[in-house]
Symmetry: C2
Subunit: 275 residues, 2 copies
């Protein structure tokens, strides 16, 4: 049943020509093993894709390669293709090559193949991702020391998320460790991933629609919802994943709608378009 906040966004559902979905917290909750699908999400994605509306998946996930992330999601029941999924690492790899940068990597080992083929000796930047257990005092020191040795220290961060929900609780994302290095070296990181406009724009370009025709659905009120809105997209917040009730009264971001989960969003969206 539609709550008042849900009803509001239905007004523009007919204008939407493409949907961008966050992955963790919307499709599934990550954790030990492959993680767990959020109830209704597998069917919701399938229905959305079957309806003919273009769908892309925009994630700051850097715990593994794009191919392995898709394989993991498909093992738990989804049917995604790698070219539908936009994580930061392939985008960072392109930036490093274009700008001739040599990275010191502070990323999960499983993510490194997406950053392969770039020279890493005598680093000219540090690339940080969600290294999770790879964040140790030693690895943080090595990244810090690498930055302090650079003539112009450059920190490239794959997202700036604060935390995410795993099956056994909230876990720190890449953002806090990015902030630690920013503070230690008195610098500001360059973000690749949500909420960067460049990142959302690449996804919209792939769909071939303008931002005002696109709807983002995510569980991060700042990075997903605020980031997409800042690019001119509409954005829904789901009450799954890392969602907390206080997100609905966020001081700077007001979602275009709040839904219980992806299933509800898709049902309402499709029912509205069928009318």
């Amino acid at each position: 049943m539609a709550t008042p906040m849900v009803a509001g966004w239905l007004k523009f559902a007919k204008e939407i020509e493409g949907i961008v979905l966050d992955i963790a917290g919307v499709l599934y909750d990550s954790g030990d093993g492959d993680g767990v699908p959020i109830p209704g999400s597998i069917e919701a994605v399938n229905r959305l894709k079957a309806s003919g509306v273009p769908v892309r998946f925009c994630t700051n996930a850097t715990e593994t390669t794009r191919v392995n992330l898709v394989a993991k999601l498909n093992r738990i029941g989804f049917s995604l293709e790698p070219n539908e999924v936009f994580p930061p690492a392939p985008a960072v790899c392109q930036i490093l090559k274009e700008r001739g940068l040599r990275p010191h990597l502070l990323v999960a080992d499983d993510c490194k193949p997406d950053l392969a083929g770039v020279e890493q000796h005598d680093p000219t930047c540090v690339v940080i991702g969600d290294a999770a257990h790879g964040f140790t005092y030693d690895s943080m020191n090595k990244a810090f020391q690498a930055l302090m040795q650079m003539e112009k220290p450059l920190l490239i961060s794959m997202g700036q998320g604060k935390y995410y929900l795993e099956t056994d609780g909230l876990k720190l994302d890449c953002g806090p460790f990015m902030k630690a290095l920013e503070y230690a070296c008195s610098l500001e990181a360059e973000i690749v991933g949500k909420p960067s406009k460049t990142f959302f724009d690449a996804v919209l370009k792939d769909i071939g629609i303008s931002s005002d025709k696109a709807l983002m659905i995510g569980d991060d009120v700042v990075s997903d919802v605020g980031g997409a809105q800042a690019c001119g997209m509409r954005a829904l917040l789901v009450r799954t994943g890392k969602y907390r009730p206080t997100d609905e009264k966020h001081p700077t971001v007001t979602p275009d709608g709040v839904v219980d989960n992806l299933q509800q969003a898709v049902e309402l969206f499709l029912s509205c378009r069928d009318k």
Copy 2:
């Protein structure tokens, strides 16, 4: 030989009635084992104490207890007494007791005895110190989760230093990890230790002098020099420890003087007073 910058501060040397010294980077460089005295510092401290000028040691060191820190310094040649040394942990312990707070500790195991005697079940605050190798993804997550479960999350940080010099290079201090938790939980930590005015004031009270009669000597341009100056003290920067040449052109802090090391500072100070 006195450089022009050194000469300037000699003008007020006769007004000084007490000296506050930072420890790491001024007396010694920490590292494997007990660390290494900075050349001339042992004699400089001895001469200063023999001169009758009251001396206190004000440190953000939280890698061990006050008693063990003094024992370590004395093993490498200094002659300090525990009651001359002011680290944050005993001050934090007093605050926890006064305010009835129960801490979740993210501190070095060796520091914990200075925080003993305080209830720790069902924590109402997180206390962070220089945990060094104790900063792991798991320990950071546990502190983060503890904060997120509190009705009013409170983070107490023993100092906010960015980094320090060990015998094998620059190492991240407590500050960056404090910033990580501040960002993750959208809060601002309460600092106990330099550059907090409360902390400097406690040392001045112990000497029994007003801040305008006190001289701070440290290697951290922000925390030692800027912090002391903000309390009305004069402050010298030494070119030892974590000092970097850019510190002499710091955007917000101008030391009252810059000296090569503690030995030079003490020689000039005492020679000026003897005149």
